[in-house]
Structures are given as C-alpha cells and as structure tokens.
C-alpha cells in the first residue's frame, strides 16, 4: 500500500514533465497509476470480504509514537475503489477536457496529488496520519478550485473552501488528540475496539463535537455547506471528482470509521440526525431553484451528504447498510452527471444555464444516453442502482415516519434535478445560435462506464451488496452484518412510497417555472445566510488587521520604543510575579555614607539630565553620572573599570559638545499627554529593573569561572591584574571582536563624515 501511495505521488510529480513530452496522451498514461491501484484493490476483495484486513506499518518518527500505519478493511476498500476507479476515468476525461490547454500538466499534477492524499485518508490507521492526509486534500482542493487563478471568483472560492475546511481540520486535530488520549492509542483499529471506554470518558462529548465539526466542514454540512456550491468555480474534472464523489465524502468516511468508537449514543444521534436532516432538505430545496448546471448538482451533493450523515446518525444496521448503498449509487451517478454537465458546457462553447439549452439529443447522442441513465438513477427510477439504494433507505427509515416524509420531499427534488440534467438540455428544439457536437472519446469513456455501472450493478444487486456493501457496513457497525440487496424486493409499502416519490418528483419537474419564480423572490434572504456571514466575518478580520497595523505600525520611532519598553516591562513583571516576587534580602552589605551620598548625587544628576532644557547642561549632567559611576567602581574594587569609565566619559562629553555645535537646541516638544504617558512607561520600566536587580541578589550562583581565573591568572598567564588577563589572554578573542566593533564604528563614522550630502534644493 505504501508503495502504491509513493507511486501515485511520483506520478503527480511527473505529470507536468509528461505533459510536455506527450501533450495528447498524458492523461491516459497517467491514468495507469490509479488504474493499477484499482486493480490491486480488486484483488484484495476476497481477503477483505472474509474479514482479513491488509495491514502495513513502519515507525515514522521514533519516540513520538508516530507510525506510518495503513490498513485496508471493508470500509476503506469501498472508498478506495471509488477514489481510484473514478480517478482513472477522470484522468481520461481531463485529457479531453483540457485538450490543448497549456496548463494541463499542472492540473494533472494537482488532481493526482489530490487522489493520492484522498487514498491516504481512507487507508491510514493512525489518527495523525489521517489528519496529515486530510489537510493535504484541503490544500490540493484549494489549488484545484483556484486553477483558473486569473478569475477573481475562482480565487475567492478557493480561499473560502480552504479556510472553511482547514479550520475544520484544526478542530479535527484537537478532537483526534483528545480521542487518542482517551483511548490510549493512536491506532484507529484499536480505538474502535474501545468504544465503551471512550464513551465513558469525561472528554467524550468534546471529542465528539470537535470531530463532528471537522467532518461537517469537509462534508459541507449545514451551516458550513456554503463553500461547496461556490467551489464549482473549479474546472469540471475537479468538481466531478472532488466535490461530488470523493473529497466531500471524507467527513462521512471519518464519522463512519469512528462510528464503533463514538457512535450509538444519545449525543451522537442528537448531533448527526438534526444536522443531517437540515442539510438534506436545505440542499434539496436550494437545488430546485438553480438554473446553472453545476450548481444544481452542487446543491444536490450537499443534500446527499446530509442524507448520509442522517443515516449514519440513526446508526441502526439497516440505516448503515442503506447509507453505504447510497454512497456507492451517489458516487456513480453524480460523477457521471458532472462529467456530462462539463461536457455540455465544453461542447456548446461555454453555455452553463439549462434554460438556454435544448435539443442536444441529435448533436450529442452518447452524452444524452449517459445523462439519461445517470439522471434516472439519481431520481431513483427502477431498474437503476439509485432505485435499489432508495428502497433500502426507505426500508431503513420504516420506524421514522417524519424522516420518511422528508425523504420523499428530498427524493422528489432529486427526480427534478435528474430530469433537469438528464432530459431537459437534450429535448425540445435547439435554441438559435447554439452549436454543439459530441464529446471527444476521451471524455466519453468515464460517463459511459459509470452510467452502465448505474444500471449494471443494479442487476447484480445481490453480488454488489455481498461483496462491496457488506464488508463496509460491517466495519461501520463494528459487528458482522449481512447485506441482501434486491432489485425487486417484492410488492410492499416501501415500493409504493418509492413510486409515489417518483410521481411527486415528476410533478415537481413540471412545475419548475413556478419554483424558479419563487427562488428569485427568495434571493434577498441570502444576506442572512451562512455565506454572507462568512463574508462579513472575513471582512471584519481584514478590518481588524488593518486597524491593528495602523495602531502599532505608526512609522514613528518613538512609538516603537514605547511598545518595546511597555511589552518588555509587562512580560518581565509578569514573570517576576509568577516567580513569587521578592523572597528575602539577606546578606546585604550595609550602606556606607559615601556610597549613599554618591547614589543621591547620581539620582539628582540623572533627573537633571532628563529635565534640563539646555543641551549643554544635559550633557554635563550625564557626564556627572558617568564620573559617579567611576567613583563607585573604585569603592568596590574595580580600578580598571574606574579608569576606563573616566576616559570614555570624558571622550563622550567632548564628542557630544563638538557635535552639538552643528545641531540645534531642543526645539521640539511633545504634548503634555505624551509626556505623561512616556513618563509613566519609563518609570514603570525603571521600577521593574530595580525589582529585577533585587531579585537577582537572591540568586546565589557558584562562581567556578571566576575562581578559575583568580587561581590561574598568575600561574598560567603570568599576569597579576586578573581583569586584564581575562581581557587579553583568557578571552582574547572576545576582545578582538570588541576591537572590530570599534573599528567598524570608526570606519562608518568616517565614511559618513566624508560623504558630503547633496543639499535638498540641488536634488531633483
């Protein structure tokens, strides 16, 4: 499995190069990668069916308990088959769709990378690994939606999809960490064995909510559904693949995967059932009012995802079987319809609205056949897989009359959409000015195979149920289930309901102009919807960032100094308080009169330096501070420091006095308010430093380095003045650095003085 994943990633990397070498056949050649995965998976079917999952793992990061663990069981297998199978067909389709497009190689790379990430999600047996692949799918989806990056709408939609799904991904990450803590393992196969333990854990509810948010954002559940219709900005191959049959099902997969660990509780039902039902109905109702091909499909996808969550939320063996059957049926017909929708737009020169299309049956007979088959499957007509799935579904809802009614309404909407795409664009008269021709062979392969599968799998419903649905449903339920699907289940009340739904649906379809009219009147309500909320939130974040930048980045040096001082003071003071403040002040040297007098003098001189309005007085006062420092050094056994300080202070004062000859006096003064603020901040800083010094006195550190120097100064370096020996011998390299600094400063100052700046009026 690991080899296959690596192989697919390699194929993604090779794609642009291959496209340059073989522009016409790159898609078909690259399709070998998913095709080989599909074939390999197919051969694993017997083993997995008999309950022997394929496992593989190796240690990834030692010590972090991070294993690259892969596991193929019934649920993974069904999803992986869909991903690789539809992926293969999509690559063929891409080749036709992007024929002659210079960026086809880039698109192929993205979509294969996505496919591999998606395979990673369903094959991973380690929660963190799932998260990594999960985020990879969000990222590749971003690249695919924004593929037409010169269009602003595409960029916005891409960003929206990524922000929503990545945000959800972060919730998922936190949820996963909590779940791993509660279960005591990262391995999913072990976690799902410990359901009782996890459900009794104090963190069960947070875990459930966090993971649900992650899954709901990815699978476009209300109120996060809005990104999916917007994501239709993606090129059709991406929409057909990511936003109908694979990526949006990642959330469904994850919840299904964790169902044995998290499911079956009241909380599980209380979250999943309402959200699923709302999404199911909302998507169906919104779909009715759409006229654009891909948006029609997008809203029904939202609806279908809601239905899956609903069925999973109910969590009975029946509903789980029904859900998996629906997952399969939906993936087949939805991918077909998307490919046909893209084909229609592609072959009519960019027409996207179904109301402007018509009479395409002559120009595009094969597309018509495929669309009709898939559309009928979507509507749930016999003898298609959609019918089988819907009957199982209705059967599973037998005990829930209200949900049954909801299903009928939703089902009727599906009939409408199925007809809108599988019937309407092809019938009637061709509008004037519309030119169309059949899709090229590469684009036809996918729809034909999938549409035939919609029909064919229904005739082999028993085998399909036994080999594909049963292992998957068993994995979700956590116990072996038996699945018996029938195309003809006998004459019972569910058949009646199913047929009634079809009749209502056809009625819905006839009344379509009425719905469109209604939808137009309701359009104003969108400003209260989640999409508008997202826009507002997004705009306010940008506004906040701008406000904060304006506040902090004023361009005034003084303000920056202020912020630095303030932040440092607050942080250091907080650390000081947390460390317990001042403990004890022991072993202090008693204050002598001369030191006390010197301290007072220094304080007075500092105040004078700050307060003085005259430049010279200010500098001289600073000189006084420096000389006092020198004196202080002599009091405490540091004659070298005293000498250096004296020399340097004298030099500084002279230098400043010289410079001031060229500089004006203090002319600029700030407002009283600014003075007050600065003074407060400065005094705060001073107080914190004082406290810090006092705190430092409490810390008694051993002085092995000093002792070493004192001991070996004469014996090793033959010098009597230890400070000097340190500077020129023990730490001579440091002194060399110091000299370098001095030299550089001197060079810099010299260069600055030599360069004569042009006068302002001389410059242009």
């Amino acid at each position: 499995m690991f080899t296959l994943l690596t192989f697919c990633f390699a194929a993604a990397l090779l794609a642009p190069w291959l496209h340059r070498r073989l522009p016409a056949y790159a898609g078909a050649v690259l399709a070998l990668a998913p095709a080989s995965v599909f074939i390999w998976l197919f051969f694993q079917l017997p083993a997995v069916m008999h309950g022997h999952p394929v496992e593989q793992s190796f240690l990834w990061v030692e010590g972090l308990d991070l294993e690259f663990a892969l596991r193929l069981d019934g649920l993974s297998l069904l999803f992986a088959l869909l991903i690789s199978g539809i992926g293969t067909l999509i690559l063929f389709y891409t080749q036709g769709y992007f024929k002659g497009h210079p960026q086809q190689g880039r698109f192929l790379m993205y979509i294969i990378a996505f496919m591999t990430s998606m395979l990673g999600v369903v094959l991973s047996d380690h929660l963190l690994l799932v998260f990594i692949f999960w985020e990879l799918t969000s990222f590749t989806s971003y690249l695919l939606i924004g593929f037409n990056h010169e269009k602003e709408a595409a960029r916005t939609a891409a960003l929206q999809a990524m922000l929503v799904t990545v945000l959800g991904g972060l919730f998922l990450l936190v949820g996963s960490i909590l779940l791993a803590q509660a279960a005591g393992t990262w391995r999913i196969s072990e976690i799902i064995q410990r359901g009782a333990e996890i459900q009794a854990h104090a963190h069960y509810l947070p875990i459930l909510i966090l993971i649900c948010i992650g899954a709901f954002t990815k699978s476009a559940q209300f109120p996060f559904h809005f990104w999916l219709p917007n994501a239709m900005q993606a090129p059709t191959p991406a929409s057909a693949y990511l936003h109908s049959s694979t990526m949006v099902k990642a959330g469904i997969y994850l919840l299904a995967r964790l169902h044995p660990a998290l499911g079956g509780t009241e909380e599980w039902a209380a979250i999943l059932i309402p959200i699923g039902t709302i999404t199911f109905l909302l998507g169906a109702v919104m779909a009715i009012g759409q006229t654009v091909l891909k948006r029609l499909l997008a809203y029904t996808t939202v609806s279908a995802l809601g239905a899956m969550i609903l069925l999973l939320g109910l969590g009975t063996p029946y509903t789980i079987k029904a859900m998996m059957g629906f997952v399969l049926a939906h993936a087949l017909y939805k991918a077909t319809l998307f490919m046909i929708a893209g084909g229609i737009t592609h072959e009519t020169g960019g027409e996207t609205s179904i109301d402007k299309l018509g009479g395409l049956r002559k120009a595009m007979p094969i597309s018509f056949a495929c669309a009709l088959l898939a559309g009928l499957s979507m509507g749930g007509f016999p003898p298609f897989l959609g019918f089988v799935a819907k009957e199982t579904w209705l059967h599973a809802l037998g005990d829930y009359p209200l949900l049954m009614i909801a299903t009928m309404i939703g089902g009727a909407a599906y009939v409408l959409v199925g007809f809108s795409i599988g019937w309407r664009p092809f019938m009637g008269e061709m509008p004037a000015g519309l030119h169309a021709h059949e899709m090229p062979p590469a684009m036809r392969v996918g729809p034909i195979i999938l549409a035939v599968a919609c029909l064919g799998l229904a005739f082999f419903a028993g085998t399909t149920g036994h080999t594909l649905i049963e292992p998957a449903a068993s994995a979700i339920a956590g116990t072996p289930l038996k699945v018996h699907l029938h195309l003809w289940a006998g004459f019972n009340k569910y058949l009646v309901i199913s047929l009634a739904t079809l009749a209502i649906g056809i009625g819905f379809y006839r009344a379509r102009p009425l719905w469109l009219n209604l939808a137009q009147r309701m359009a104003g309500w969108a400003r209260f919807g989640p999409d508008a909320t997202y826009q507002k939130l997004f705009a306010s974040i940008l506004k906040f960032a701008a406000w904060q930048t304006r506040l902090l980045q004023t361009g005034h040096l003084r303000h920056y100094i202020r912020y630095i001082v303030l932040a440092t003071t607050v942080l250091v003071f907080t650390a000081f308080l947390r460390a317990g403040g001042l403990h004890k002040l022991e072993g202090l040297t008693p204050l002598t009169v001369r030191t006390g007098a010197l301290a007072v003098l220094m304080i007075l001189a500092t105040v004078a330096t700050v307060h003085s309005k005259s430049r010279l007085r200010s500098i001289l006062s600073m000189g006084v501070v420096g000389y006092c420092m020198a004196l202080l050094f002599t009091f405490f056994g540091a004659p070298d420091l005293a000498m250096t300080q004296l020399v340097i202070e004298t030099l500084t004062v002279i230098l400043m006095a010289l410079a001031f000859y060229h500089l004006p006096s203090f002319r600029h003064s700030s407002s009283v308010r600014t003075h007050a603020i600065d003074l407060t901040i400065a005094i705060g800083g001073g107080v914190v430093v004082t406290l810090l010094v006092l705190a430092a006195l409490d810390v008694q550190t051993p002085t092995p380095i000093s002792d070493y120097y004192l001991e070996h100064s004469y014996t090793k370096a033959h010098g009597r003045n230890v400070v000097n020996v340190i500077l020129v011998d023990f730490r001579a390299l440091d002194t060399l650095g110091e000299i370098t600094v001095l030299t550089l400063a001197a060079l810099g100052a010299g260069a600055l003085l030599k360069l004569r700046p042009k006068k302002k009026e001389d410059r242009p």
């Binding site: 008693p590 405490f636 340097i648 600029h668 430093v689 004082t690 009597r720 400063a745 100052a749 003085l753």
Partner: protein, 115 residues
C-alpha cells in the same frame, strides 16, 4: 547598599527610556548613554558586591590570600563601556548627517525613507 544601587539603576533606566521617547535626536543619544550606564551598573550589582580588594595580585605573591572582588563582571563591563562608546559615537555622527540631509532633528518628521 545593594538596595540603594538598585534604586539608582532603576532611575537611570527610567531616565534613559524617557529620553529615548523624546522628539529631539540629541535627547535620544543622551538617553542611550544613560541606559548603558544603567546596564553596566546592573551587571556590576547583580554580579555581587564583594568586600575585598581589587583582583590584582600584589608583587611577589602567587595566590590571593583573601578573596578579592569578582573579576568576571568587571571584564564584561569593561568591554561594554568601550562598545557603548563606539555606538554613541557612531550614532552621533549618523544623527548629525541625518540632520544635515533632512534639515530636521525632529524624530517625528522622519517617517519617509525617500528623501
């Protein structure tokens, strides 16, 4: 003694910081000077004010009979004094040139890089 010095250090810091937030270029440099005095004194005090003579061996002796002042902070401060002088001198020349080029010594007026 330490408490007195700690207060002096605090005053030096407060004065230095306050001056650095003023609008006149020169005050900024003077503030920098006060700040380095404060920092040097901080190292000196934090290193421990030890009674005892300078860390210099008397002629003829090979080891200290009594523990002298700690030589390590002294070496550090010596370096710091010299470097702060270099910084002050360079800043002074830089500001002088800035003033001559821009025609202002008001820090608030120095918002543009394009002059």
């Amino acid at each position: 003694m330490e408490v007195a010095l700690a207060i002096v250090i605090g005053v030096l810091y407060a004065g230095g910081l306050y001056l650095m937030m003023r609008r006149n270029l020169i005050q900024l440099i003077i503030g920098l000077g006060l700040l380095s005095h404060g920092a040097n004194l901080l190292i000196f005090t934090a290193g421990g004010l030890r009674k005892g003579g300078a860390p210099i061996l008397a002629e003829g002796e090979k080891a200290f009979s009594a523990l002298p002042a700690d030589p390590l902070p002294q070496a550090l401060i010596l370096t710091a004094i010299v470097i702060s002088f270099a910084v002050t001198a360079f800043a002074l020349v830089l500001f002088l040139r800035t003033y001559q080029t821009l025609g202002t010594d008001d820090v608030d007026a120095m918002k543009e890089t394009d002059t």
